[in-house]
Amino acid sequence: MEPSPNGTFELRRSQRKRVGMILAGVLFLATIFGIVVLVALLVDVILTAAPWLDAQFVRSFPSRTPGEAGVWSALMGTLWLMGLTALISVPLGVASAVYLEEYAQDGWFLRLIRVNIANLAGVPSVVYGILGLALFVRFVSLGSSLLAGALTLSLLILPIIIISTQEALRSVPSGVRESAYALGATRWQVIQSHVLPMAAPGIMTGVILALSRAIGETAPLILVGALTFVSFVPQGALDQFTALPIQIFNWAARPQDEFRALAAAAIVVLMMLLFTMNLTAILLRNYFEERRAGS
């Protein structure tokens, strides 16, 4: 569209179109890049892990002999952490979100909390680990227990749960609230009998995704003092523990190929757990979206 050197206007349409085609191709390749890497990662991990993956691997404790080693204690530790973290973070996160969406008036307090949550979501997980170490492990004297780990992970995913719950609450049509008010319901009655049940699928989707983030975390648990070699299954919230990411880290950091293969096998176990959770979240979302659209 620029004037040509001799001063006359040239449309150069085919040339401009060609540049556009090339750009579109480059953009497409860049987009595919991430997917290709993901596939390479999965294939690499699964091929390395395949010879080691069996029931014995899942049901055994870690061992110095690669052939006898397994992830039972780590898997149980991860499930314990997930349960405890859910028990702590879900009520707190949902309550915070309900307050922010349904009660708080616009003002400095609401603004402070909103800015704060946005910034908390960007704090590195290792810093949460430092907080957990100083606060829960030492100050509250929980030691390197499951509870200390779960409390730390809860603080870590609280911003995620709050933000996704807020979105779920916002998607409840305000007409629902107004009709309930019109019938004389109090604010809490409106929330607990109408708003929360209607937002529940959205909240649950957010919670599952937040928990899947939590059980993939490694650094905070190392800071809290998760063990690397555990040959027992935790019996209570105050027991010491290990978790799948810690076990993966420990095996991957060893130079021997056998242990790295064990790390790959443990990754498959962790990824299958994460995949199941994500799939549940997606199916849940689709199911309720369809039902809402149909009604």
Binding site: M1, R13, R16, G20, L23, A24, L27, F28, F33, G34, I35, V37, L38, L41, D44, V45, A95, S96, Y99, L100, E101, E102, D106, L112, I113, I117, N119, L120, G122, V123, P124, S125, V126, V127, L131, A134, L158, I162, R170, S174, E178, T186, R187, W188, T218, I222, L223, G225, P245, I248, F249, A252, A253, R260, A264, I267, L270, M271, N278, I282
Partner: protein, 321 residues
């Protein structure tokens, strides 16, 4: 943000102006009953926990690093280039760790920013609906991979791959860690930039078409510049995420703090140092143990500053349309 629904007291207030007594009673006994008030305060207290978390992080980092800064003057902390807490002759120069972090972050930005932005442009401006429906879950899946898995991938796949291209590359190096951290943050750049691009009104691009622009010209000269604020914010957030990334660099970048800009060198980042110290049995009260809080404080301040900056930009540009 939607405004909160009009609360019942408003209805009660209207009633109160007409005929005061019964409405007043109703309001006090039902809408503002002790139970309702208690619930409101309990929920508010939960919301306060997020503020307390921030204060807790700041307090822990400052209080616990005080003994460290009493032993190590700030002039050494910021003036020295060696970091050797494990040696008998101890030096505490943060630059050795900071340069490691910087190196990995720059490499990751070189990988992630162009690829992430390109993905965002493709998904938001070019992809057909069904392609988008395939690509977005793929990117989400990439974002959901735990960082320790990426660390394993860097160590056992990317490093050997790079060794075939870069001769003399060691087992631990900043390059491989940086590339994989970059891959990790691609989905973040892509999804935040895509949000920014989607927020640009269609009318702008249509105006460009009306003036005879091709698709490429409309995208590059209208859509992308219009979304620049949000795109910048996504870059800053992603880079801040790269700075705080821990497991990839712990596994793949090595544990040898040195002030260098050589991407093939084994280095140590701030985050990897924190993990290394807390993973070993370093006794409480030693200077080495205290140093993780000082390093954590630096890390927290850097990422906090970047996040505040990015959120500012996002908010400013959001109001534009």
């Amino acid at each position: 943000m939607s405004t909160p629904p009009s609360p019942p007291p408003t209805t009660a207030e209207n009633e109160a102006t007409r005929d005061s007594r019964p409405a007043e009673d109703l309001r006090q006994q039902v809408y503002d009953s002790p139970k309702e008030q208690a619930i409101q305060y309990a929920l508010g207290a939960c919301a306060l926990i997020s503020v307390l978390t921030t204060l807790g992080i700041a307090a822990v980092l400052i209080i616990e690093s005080l003994p460290f800064f009493q032993a190590v003057p700030l002039t050494e902390f910021f003036g020295e280039t060696r970091w050797t807490p494990q040696f008998t002759e101890k030096y505490f120069g943060i630059w050795a760790l900071l340069s490691g972090t910087l190196l990995v972050t720059v490499i990751s930005a070189v990988v992630a920013l162009p690829v992430g932005l390109a993905s965002a442009i493709f998904v938001s401006e070019y992809a057909a609906d069904w392609v988008r429906k395939l690509l977005k879950p793929g990117l989400e899946l990439l974002a959901g991979v735990p960082t320790v898995v990426y660390g394993y991938f860097a160590l056992t796949f990317v490093t050997p791959l790079l060794q075939t291209v870069v001769p003399g590359l060691g087992v631990y190096n900043a390059l491989s860690a940086g590339v994989v951290v970059g891959i990790m943050i691609i989905p973040m750049v892509a999804s935040l930039s895509e949000d920014a691009l989607q927020a640009v009104p269609d009318s702008l691009a249509r105006a460009a078409y009306a003036l005879g622009a091709t698709k490429y010209e409309a995208v590059v000269r209208v859509n992308v510049p219009a979304a620049l604020g949000g795109i910048m914010a996504s870059f800053i957030l992603a880079v801040s995420r790269a700075i705080g990334e821990t497991m990839i660099v712990t596994l793949a970048a090595g544990a040898s703090p040195k002030t260098t800009l050589d991407p093939t060198a084994a280095i140590q980042t701030m985050t990897a140092f924190i993990v290394q110290v807390s993973k070993g049995d370093t006794p409480q009260g030693t200077i080495e143990y205290q140093s993780i809080f000082a390093v954590g404080l630096v890390l927290f301040l850097i990422t906090l500053a970047m996040n505040i900056f990015a959120n500012r930009i996002t908010r400013r540009y959001k109001e534009k349309y």
